[in-house]
């Protein structure tokens, strides 16, 4: 039976690169599979829907209607990969709701594979949030994102035991360049002739990491 991955990009902290990861992952899945459904649960941060309006819809988890609209959709095993860009303000409510409604268990039953991509930071809120996620999410489905641009030091020891996906730091001028709303990672790979540029290699490295992540998940499935 095929399974449908649901990637939840999250952090209890603002401005750690969640939308950047969600953008790249969505573009990668779109390139690889031909389709992807992205959900933007951000009110106070740079927003995925502004970057990828064609594949992204806004969602909310602060009321039951919003929760139903989101979760009744992502629990469906329809072979369309899902990416959720979970804003820091919605972190607690989302995982509380997931726990209460038995999301992980029901997902496993229906052939849906939730993967939590936790964007790490070195503050107390992140440490607490990660420890709480460890109680709720199986280790194989909990990935720490080590975003060098944000984490300018060592990853906290508690977060270093599981699976880690590293995102290299870009120079500021390139960071500004990719932050433009019209920028597309896949578009850049397609149109930039010089594959030796730093940005070209950075995007390819990240796409390769996503591919490895998918492969690992596939191998671990029963």
């Amino acid at each position: 039976m095929h399974t449908t991955p649901v990637y939840i990009v999250c952090s209890p902290r603002p401005l750690v690169g969640k939308t950047l990861v969600a953008r790249q992952l969505s573009e990668f899945l779109l390139l690889k599979n031909g389709d992807v459904a992205a959900f933007d649960i951000n009110l106070k941060e740079p927003s995925l829907v502004e970057y990828l309006p064609g594949i992204t819809e806004t969602a909310e988890v602060d009321n039951t209607f919003g929760k139903m609209a989101l979760m009744d959709r992502v629990i469906v095993n329809d072979a369309v990969s899902k990416v959720i860009d979970l804003g820091f303000h919605a972190f607690d409510e989302f995982f509380l709701m997931s726990k209460e409604i038995g999301f992980m268990k029901e997902a496993a039953r229906r052939g849906v594979s939730p993967v939590v991509l936790f964007v790490a930071d070195n503050d107390r809120a992140s440490a607490r949030a990660y420890a709480a996620l460890e109680q709720q999410i199986p280790p194989t489905a909990l990935i720490v994102i080590d975003n060098e641009y944000v984490l300018r030091g060592e990853l906290a020891e508690a977060m270093g035991h599981g699976r880690i996906l590293r995102i290299g730091a870009l120079p500021s001028f390139l960071k500004t360049y990719i932050d433009r709303l019209t920028f597309s990672f896949t578009g850049y790979l397609r149109h930039e002739q010089d594959s030796s540029t730093e940005l070209h290699q950075w995007i390819r490295r990240n796409y390769l990491s996503f591919r490895e992540l998918e492969l690992n998940l596939m191998l671990e499935r029963p």
């Binding site: 039951t64 209607f65 139903m68 629990i75 709701m97 209460e100 409604i101 038995g102």
Partner: protein
């Protein structure tokens, strides 16, 4: 009625009631019927909201609508206690009828039978957030010799019970020794409404089934909320050893909790 299971020698009668309306009597009755069903305890129910019947809408297979004020319907309930297979009888008593019903039970000798151990008798007294409702406790307690008395604080409609005023709280909740307090937690409003609309037992809603066991299309989120809530309610029933009370032993693996 109510599935197969171990049969008990002694009939069990559980009265769910309050003198105040809208405090969740039928909701608690429904959770009890689901609990016994999941624990394979054969059960029958009587709905005294004659002629409409709310409990009957959710559990039509095992529920009969009766008018507790008539002798013929009292006979229908109490004269059949030893004659029918399900030896657990749940009676959802309509608002305002709890005290008169208990008085009737005393008059027909039922309470004496409970006192002498021939019948297991339990009352789930659903409390509202008013002093009047709390005053019922003292009134009801007069009938409780020989019965198990459960004071049910129902939080399903965001009620508070004077916990902020410890003196008032103690004066009511600690007045009657041998009364056991029970808490029904709050259920998400939309989930509650969706089950109302579906008109099915909570267990069937969780299992995504319609009234005739056909596959339904309820929201996964709402089903999750109901499952979580029902599990918490049943934990309370486990805590008060409800299955021991009805003589079916410890709750084991039961359906609806997977």
């Amino acid at each position: 009625m109510g599935g197969q299971g171990k049969f008990m020698a002694k009939p069990v009668v559980i009265v769910v009631g309050a003198d105040k309306g809208g405090v969740g009597k039928t909701t608690v009755s429904r959770t009890l019927l689901d609990y016994f069903n999941a624990n394979h305890v054969p059960t029958r129910a009587f709905d005294t909201e004659s002629p409409r019947g709310t409990l009957n809408r959710f559990h039509p297979d095992i529920t009969e609508i009766v008018d507790m004020t008539t002798t013929s319907d009292q006979m229908k309930i109490f004269d059949t206690l030893n004659a029918v297979t399900p030896s657990v009888t749940v009676i959802d008593v309509r608002a305002g009828l709890l005290s008169p019903s208990l008085a009737s039970l005393r008059d027909i000798g039922f309470l004496d039978a409970a006192k002498s151990g021939q019948i297991t008798f339990a009352v789930f007294h659903i409390l509202g957030p008013s002093i009047a409702s709390l005053d019922e406790i003292a009134e009801t307690a007069n009938f409780m010799q020989g019965a198990k008395y459960f004071l049910v604080k129902n939080f399903i409609n965001n009620t508070s019970f004077f916990e902020w005023d410890q003196a008032t709280y103690n004066s009511y909740f600690h007045r009657i020794k041998d009364a056991t307090e029970l808490t029904i937690p709050k259920l998400n409003e939309m989930a509650y409404e969706q089950v109302e609309v579906a008109s099915v037992p909570f267990l069937k809603f969780v299992a995504n089934k319609g009234p005739s066991d056909e596959t339904a299309n309820y929201s996964f989120v709402l089903r999750g909320y109901v499952r979580h809530w029902l599990s918490n309610v049943w934990t309370e029933f486990d805590r008060i050893k409800l299955t021991d009370l009805v003589g079916s032993g410890k709750p084991g693996a039961r359906m609806g909790e997977k």
